[in-house]
């Protein structure tokens, strides 16, 4: 994945242990999801009727749930759906958000105003509520979830694009380019997009874990996947009815989900600091002036 590549090539600096651990975790989960068919012979759906709700054993490494399904197999296959839906939702959010944001900018003020009125509207609906509505309209399944995720997070991306664009467009070098006859497209390609790229990558790192969490919330509410399509949220929902009988069945997907999103958000935080456009490539101001500006604190 791209965060890994960017981080590793970060100028030969030594990686913080937290970052390294997060990378390992994300890598392992992605690998597990991709290699699920080869990692386990057991199907996530087959019920071992002789071994309902068992603890870990040689046969079932993480035990079985109340229906006798292998938890590890469900976890691995569930990772596929969870990651897939989260990634697709993020991609859709970016395609919609960045697309609409940039198009609105290129086509001028009126289009911009119109589009951002629409975006404002979508933003007023929380992701969960939008998900509920879309699933009501489109029926349950993975596609409505992806659409709901894309629609919910697209406004965030569009706003980020607009803010970054406004910040860049006010620069004198953009005015200078215009004075050399550079049109909107030239300015966009040469000055704004390169400065925007970092912001977008950072934003992706923020949106991806949110998509994964929202997907799990919707699955938990029974609005996402169908029962024969395991996701972590669904596993938690299924097992939550038997918390008292089978706590291990519910803890496994929770731990997996929290570990993944924590690792992703740690990576996102590192990425944000590494690519922060307000820090990157800005001249160090006069030392004393910079320090004076940082003066303050309450005491």
């Amino acid at each position: 994945m791209s965060p890994a590549g960017t981080m590793a090539s970060g100028g030969g600096r030594r990686m913080a242990p937290g970052t390294a651990a997060a990378l390992v975790v994300v890598g392992a989960i992605v690998l597990g999801a991709v290699a699920a068919p080869w990692l386990t012979d057991l199907s996530p759906l087959d019920q071992d009727l002789g071994g309902l709700n068992r603890g870990p054993s040689a046969e079932h490494l993480l035990g079985t749930d109340v229906l006798g399904r292998d938890i590890l197999a469900r976890l691995l296959w569930g990772a596929r759906t969870t990651l897939m839906v989260g990634t697709l939702g993020t991609l859709l959010a970016f395609a919609l958000g960045a697309g609409v944001g940039l198009a609105a900018i290129v086509f001028g003020r009126l289009t911009e105003t119109l589009w951002f009125a629409v975006i404002d509207l979508v933003r007023a609906l929380p992701a969960t509520l939008l998900g509920v509505l879309l699933i009501v309209a489109l029926g349950s399944g993975m596609a409505p979830v992806v659409i709901a995720l894309g629609l919910s997070y697209a406004p965030l991306v569009a706003l980020v694009v607009r803010t970054a664009h406004a910040r860049e467009a006010a620069r004198d070098y953009v005015a200078a380019a215009a004075s050399f006859g550079g049109g909107r497209l030239h300015v966009l390609v040469h000055h704004i997009l390169p400065n925007l790229a970092g912001t977008l990558v950072t934003q992706a790192a923020i949106v991806l874990p949110r998509c994964i969490v929202t997907e799990s919330v919707l699955s938990f509410l029974g609005l996402g996947s169908s029962p024969d399509e395991p996701t972590w949220g669904r596993m938690i929902a299924d097992a939550s009815r038997f918390i008292e009988k089978a706590p291990h069945a519910i803890l496994a997907p929770i731990v997996a989900l929290v570990v993944l999103t924590t690792a992703l958000s740690i990576l996102g935080g590192r990425l944000r600091r590494a690519l922060d456009p307000t820090r990157a490539a800005v001249a160090p101001a006069e030392p004393s002036a910079a320090i004076l500006a940082g003066e303050g604190a309450l005491s």
Partner: protein, 566 residues
């Protein structure tokens, strides 16, 4: 005046600080033998193992002003912050430092103990009064807060005292101004409020850190004059920090020059001007002398390159339903080949908007601009490429004008590629050559902007604008963001380039001295209208409009070395 008596009868506070009037009557103001109010000995300021200020020693007597002058990064503001105990958390004062106020050592390392001195014996005014006032409090309440700090508990007395202070700083109608919020006041009024707040402390020492730098020229002169009058009346010592040698000469009994955190020169204003010892002081004085003797204007000749006819411009409304605010109204000007036109005005006068219109960056709502005889209105103000080559613009902030992600070479390739200048293969060569025109090492082209100094960046911006061999160069406040010595070099460079290449120059500025130095003719803008246009000499000697007269008088007052000591 009742205001005076009320202020002078101020009670002595618990800490036993004398009111300024008592101090003033003890000694003749300006008597050098008197015990100094402030004595700074071997001041050192460090951060992260680096010296920001080292070995600074000076003293200021009651009723005296020390003008501390230096360019950005010289450590002058740090020095002030150290005296006030307002240094940032990670900046420390060295152990050898001794700072004494009226012979008592200040506990500069102990913030809690320093607080007892701030707002009582020590007061300070800062550069940008708008942002230095609390936007949520009425200005009257902010002055009263300072009085409350000084122990004036009775609200009625506090009210009266604050009105008296506002009268003392020569604010008109204190009773109605009192209830306003800072943003409802002009910059000059805001700084007067800051001064009233400082006076409320009845300070022994007033530190004024660039108190006029954020203000318009005519207001600057008024504030400086007010500072001198207030000192004469209240007798406090003033540490006046500035980057402007003219202002230092005007207000200082002594001038101290700092550079890279050290004192490089010290003396009476006359000595500093006539026999500057340090090369840096000599450079500063040379800039003054250069600006005071502008070269002779060139003769008017040649064809008009720029004809502005009845141009108007509105800023778009910021919000739906707002009305657009006018920026320019009916401005008409002409400029002939090879000459330079100075456009001067205070902030908000519309001068930068005019520059942007001429460079084809903004579209006026009315009127026409003819460049080299071609009507821009006919092209809907979208300049055709052939015309773009002939007009170029340089901006104020040399850092913002260069994309931080691009090398100098990439930045300079941009106009060559966009304007199709010369054959593609010859372009790298031309970039190197252009850097030579402005006195830069061609090797700099591989660097990024942040590796260059402000002056170097501005030279790059000028070289880039010259790549297309323009016949008209628009310079929008190109030296305003630079230190005086660097700015003077840029001015000199512009003039030399103009002589070599013969382009016409439209130079937009707010500093009369700078504009006068470079311009053959001067246009004065006020509130979006052209109020004066003529040969530089005529506008300066006999300004016809009120706005021009204000500018000229402000400049003249700043020029005259009034030596308050005599």
């Amino acid at each position: 005046m009742t205001a005076t008596t009320e202020l002078r009868d101020a009670p002595i506070d618990a800490a036993g600080h004398r009111a300024p009037s008592a101090a003033a009557s003890d000694r003749t103001p300006g008597d050098p033998r008197a015990v100094p109010v402030l004595e700074v000995h071997d001041l050192g300021i460090r951060t992260g193992g680096r010296d920001l200020v080292a070995g600074v020693t000076f003293s200021i007597g009651a009723g005296r002003t020390l003008a501390l002058i230096g360019q950005s990064g010289s450590g002058k503001s740090m020095t002030a912050a150290a005296i006030m105990g307002l240094l940032p958390p990670d900046v420390t004062v060295s152990a050898e430092t001794r700072i004494e106020l009226d012979g008592r050592r200040l506990p500069h390392a102990d913030d809690g103990a320093m607080r007892a001195f701030r707002g009582t014996a020590l007061a300070m005014v800062f550069q940008d009064p708008m942002s230095c006032l609390n936007p949520f409090m009425t200005v009257g309440a902010q002055i009263e807060e300072a009085l409350w700090r000084r122990g004036v508990v009775d609200p009625v007395v506090r009210r009266e005292r604050s009105l008296a202070l506002m009268a003392a700083v020569e604010l008109p109608t204190p009773e109605s101004l009192r209830r306003r919020l800072p943003h409802e006041l002009s910059g000059g009024q805001q700084q007067r409020i800051m001064l009233a707040m400082a006076l409320a402390a009845e300070p022994r020492l007033l530190i004024a850190d660039e108190p006029t730098s954020a203000l318009d020229a005519s207001v600057q002169a008024e504030i400086l004059a007010l500072l001198a009058r207030l000192q004469a009346r209240f007798g406090m010592a003033i540490l006046f920090i500035t980057h402007d040698l003219a202002a230092a000469r005007r207000l200082g009994h002594e001038i101290m020059v700092m550079r890279h955190g050290r004192v490089v020169d010290f003396g009476a204003p006359r000595t500093i001007f006539t026999t500057p010892r340090h090369p840096h002081t000599r450079a500063l004085v040379a800039v003054r002398e250069m600006l005071e003797r502008p070269p002779a204007p060139r003769r008017s000749a040649g064809t008009p390159v720029l004809e502005i006819a009845g141009v108007g411009f509105d800023y778009p409304p910021r919000r739906f339903l707002d009305r657009p605010s006018p920026a320019l109204r009916e401005v008409s000007l002409t400029l002939t080949a090879g000459r330079s036109l100075g456009v001067i005005g205070e902030s908000g006068s519309g001068k930068s908007t005019l520059a942007a219109i001429v460079a084809g960056l903004k579209t006026p709502i009315s009127g026409d601009v003819r460049l080299f005889g071609t009507s821009l209105a006919a092209h809907r103000f979208a300049l055709p490429r052939a015309l773009r080559r002939r007009v170029q613009i340089v901006f104020q902030n040399p850092h913002g004008a260069l994309n931080p992600r691009h090398t100098i070479a990439t930045a300079m390739r941009e106009p060559l590629d966009l304007l199709h200048i010369g054959p593609r293969r010859a372009r790298p060569e031309r970039v190197a050559e252009a850097l030579g025109w402005v006195g830069l090492d061609p090797d700099l082209r591989l660097r990024h902007p942040h590796a260059l100094s402000g002056g170097q960046r501005q030279r790059v911006a000028i070289a880039r604008a010259l790549l297309s061999e323009p016949d008209l160069l628009v310079c929008d406040e190109v030296v305003s963001a630079l230190d005086a010595t660097v700015g003077a070099e840029i001015l000199d460079l512009l003039r030399r380039l103009q002589a070599e290449r013969g382009f016409a120059l439209m130079f937009v500025g707010h500093d009369l001295e700078v504009v006068r130095w470079i311009a053959d003719e001067i246009a004065v803008l006020a509130d979006g209208r052209l109020v004066e246009h003529g040969p530089a000499d005529r506008v300066l000697v006999a300004p016809a409009s009120v706005a021009a007269r204000r500018l000229v008088e402000a400049g003249r007052r700043a020029d005259q070395p009034s030596d308050p000591a005599k």
